[in-house]
Symmetry: C2
């Protein structure tokens, strides 16, 4: 059942007469009272009552928006328009902003837009933007407007696709990390990265859309954050993945610009964050690119030649996250990369010494370098070690994990087998390895349609315990073991052992 942040309700009212001359406002509100309590009717609506009520013969549809405390009337329309009830949910990423236009009557996603964050022109890296805006109100305002502009661009594209104007949205939910939400509101974000790490607002709650720069009359809910590196996007992800509802212990790893980890169940939640992301997404790989036209997304190696799956089907231009995982897995299974993650030049003539290091030509003139491999494996190791360390803290072995979720755009497309092969995932039964996709966006969608998630989000934040990996001495030591392919302790990866044996690559 949909019970979201906005409502549309069709009312058939009796016209006033001598025996019941109650005012139009009270006439409407008394119909709503039982279901919605005291409803706020702002000036905009008061001014619409005449001549609309009479024109509509008192058959009216009201749109209500939850403002965190009460329902506010956002719109009044003639006749029944309950089926024209729209909301927006968004994953506000530092690189990409993904927006869905939702039919809040049915829950159907009517259209989706994924566009670059306009803030990129102030720095691809989030830290550059932070320094650009630091103590410079005019620069901060530029960043804020860039975020707003990004949404507007997406809104206009959604309108082109659906004919639904941004004025008619009834509610909006945004999931983003701490910095992105600070910028969207117009708050300096230097605090996010500087001691004592006290930010300006980590629970923005419901803000008027108009104050943010949007044109619909309702409210925007920004997911609250747990900590500076554990933003609203992750809380949204926890809601979407349902890990805090389950009895079994789940691992939730979100790989985006950063890597955030949550391990827990309905009884407890541990969380922590690390700079795990960019390498996995192909960001620091020399020929890496995001998953778009021309990106190699899947790779097979028959021992001699690569078979590539290129997005759009044309000439490969680079390699994206899922392609990298495949590539490394295949190289390893065929013995072109050893267990320590080193390219083995004698394995193939496609491995050459270029620019002072070895590199493998995975496509004509496209190389994957030893340094790419190193960085990727370091990151993989960091992510895996966060998981391992936390499981140790809890006192559970890796195979006690009920579900291992890798969220994020990256996680959506990777091949599970390859990911296990290179040790990104533990070697669990494959149905326990879950690729939930963009959980930040999904959680925003869930919030839009299920108001009970407001309380759930609060409870999740309360329950979460933050682990500072930076302060863990044994961390570097643990990482060493995880840097290998799939892991120093191959016994932990029986399925990979088996494959290596079958292929005769056992080394």
């Amino acid at each position: 059942m949909i019970d979201g942040l906005s409502k549309k309700k069709y009312l058939e009212l009796k016209a006033p007469d001598k025996d019941d001359a109650v005012s139009a406002k009270e006439r409407i509100l008394r119909e709503l009272k039982q279901e919605f309590g005291k409803v706020r009717m702002p000036c905009t609506i008061l001014r619409m009552l005449h001549p609309l009520c009479e024109q509509a013969e008192w058959k009216l549809t009201v749109t209500l928006g939850w403002n965190g405390q009460e329902w506010e009337m956002l719109c009044l329309e003639q006749g029944s328009t309950v089926e024209r009830h729209y909301g927006i949910c968004a994953d506000l990423g530092s690189t990409t902003v993904i927006v869905q236009l939702v039919n809040c009557h049915t829950g159907e996603i009517l259209a989706q837009e994924s566009i670059y964050n306009e803030q990129i022109r102030f720095g691809r890296d989030i830290l550059n933007r932070i320094f650009y805006a630091k103590d410079q109100p005019d620069h901060l305002e530029e960043l804020r407007l860039a975020a707003v502009e990004t949404f507007w661009k997406a809104f206009r594209k959604l309108e082109e696709k659906t004919g639904i104007s941004p004025e008619s949205y009834a509610s909006m939910v945004v999931a983003g990390n701490m910095t992105m939400v600070h910028f969207l509101i117009g708050m300096d974000a230097f605090c996010v990265f500087s001691s004592p790490y006290a930010v300006w607002a980590d629970r923005p709650d419901f803000l008027r859309a108009s104050e943010l720069g949007f044109s619909f009359p309702g409210y925007v809910y920004c997911y609250p954050a747990k900590a500076n590196y554990m933003g609203g996007d992750i809380i949204s992800g926890i809601i979407a993945s349902g890990i805090a509802d389950r009895e079994e212990v789940s691992v939730f790893l979100d790989v985006g610009t950063n890597g955030e980890l949550v391990i827990g169940s309905r009884d407890f939640l541990l969380c922590g964050a690390g700079a795990a992301g960019p390498a996995l997404e192909g960001g620091s790989v020399k020929t890496g690119m995001t998953a778009g036209e021309g990106a190699v997304q899947y790779v097979k190696l028959d021992g001699k030649e690569f078979t590539l799956d290129v997005i759009g089907g044309g000439t490969p231009k680079g390699i994206c996250g899922s392609g990298i995982v495949d590539l490394i897995a295949e190289l390893f299974l065929r013995g072109w990369v050893d267990i320590r993650g080193q390219l083995v030049p004698e394995a193939s003539e496609k491995i050459r010494f270029l620019e002072e290091e070895y590199a493998v030509e995975y496509a004509p003139s496209l190389y994957f370098y030893q340094s790419d491999l190193d960085e990727f494996l370091n990151t993989k190791a960091a992510a895996f070690t966060m998981v391992e360390y936390m499981m140790n803290l809890i006192g559970l072995p890796m195979d006690a994990i009920g579900q291992f979720l890798i969220a994020g755009a990256f996680g959506t497309h990777i091949c599970k087998e390859s990911a296990v092969t290179i040790g990104m995932y533990p070697d669990l039964e494959r149905e326990r390895l879950v690729l939930p996709g963009n959980t930040s966006l999904k959680g925003a969608y869930e919030m839009l349609l299920h108001r009970e998630n407001l309380e759930k989000a609060e409870k999740i934040i309360e329950k979460m315990e933050y682990v500072q990996f930076g302060e863990v001495e044994q961390f570097i030591h643990l990482m060493d073991g995880a840097r290998a392919l799939p892991h120093t302790d191959l016994e932990r990866y029986p399925s990979v052992q088996k494959k290596l044996r079958e292929l005769g690559t056992w080394c």
Copy 2:
């Protein structure tokens, strides 16, 4: 104790450190939680947190405004500014708008402005304005803007006097009749005067100042109305006069453009309205004028000559309400007007036949006509009869009235003795005759400073029973008796009888 619609609170917060890195928003809100519950912090405030919090070394004053449901943060200032806490209360009349700037910290009225309602240019009479705006949205908008402009004019004058800018108001309360409030919000008011008398909104509640056209960040509370002719100005008056708190039965008569009557105690409240006003205020008297420079405000007659008290001390230009009451009383006591309200030409040579009727020259070239007298006495009779009829309904004699209050600008200045003499008041002990002044304005002031009045107003409206005088058959009959001076039944006025006897005017 002041516990008003807005609050200022000074906070001395600990700066964030490693052990307590709670965000600025939560740092402030947790200090407020116990006293104010969940406080809404809008974007405007979120954007001020930096650099203000640090500049102020976390010594901050917050301004909170009640929005009907929760406290909303309106302002954030460095250091303690709790003594600079300002609110506005207003009596929104169709002719005159009176505005007071209140120091909400002390309750002191810092300045008052009384200015003409700019809507007058669309019609002095309220009905003209209603027809001007009827079903013409652009005309309605003109009227709305005229009301807003009136307030702005008053605000600017208040600023000239006090240096306090209209941006710094924290709250505002408006008491006005149904039509005036409809126009202020921008609602068609034809409904107020046309069957079935169902208006658009009689309980506007808290509206954003910005939506109404004001520049301060908080809310405007408009007093709710009981019925079309029993507006928020009367509810405000009941609050101000305290009649609903007392054990004894009070009569509350507000004489403005209309006449509104409330009789009751803490146990019950009866109310009704009639067109009692204009004549009493001097509106339909040929040489009548409002109480300003040159108006005759008090009159004495020694049997031959008039002694006049003229506002400003110069040449009399006309006569205002209190002057009229004095004049009629004196004419009656000296036998120049008989008990039936007829001028007695043989009593003085100042009574002449002019323009087809008798008139008395009360000042050089200023005449009070028989038709003026008739109209005044009709109105007086209507007002008195409303009281009498209601007392009959309750089953109480007139002398059971604990307090008889005549509110309104008119009531402020009339001489009690004269008013009893002409039968406007019943002949009660003089201390039971009360002239409370502008109770509409006073009730607005009380609301501004005492939030408990919100609930009180609701309860008063619930308790009030509206009596439709128009439907009372015996009304005309009752009025006949009341048209006499002071009343057909002179036995009811022993003090007047005594005076007449003493002056030898007993007829």
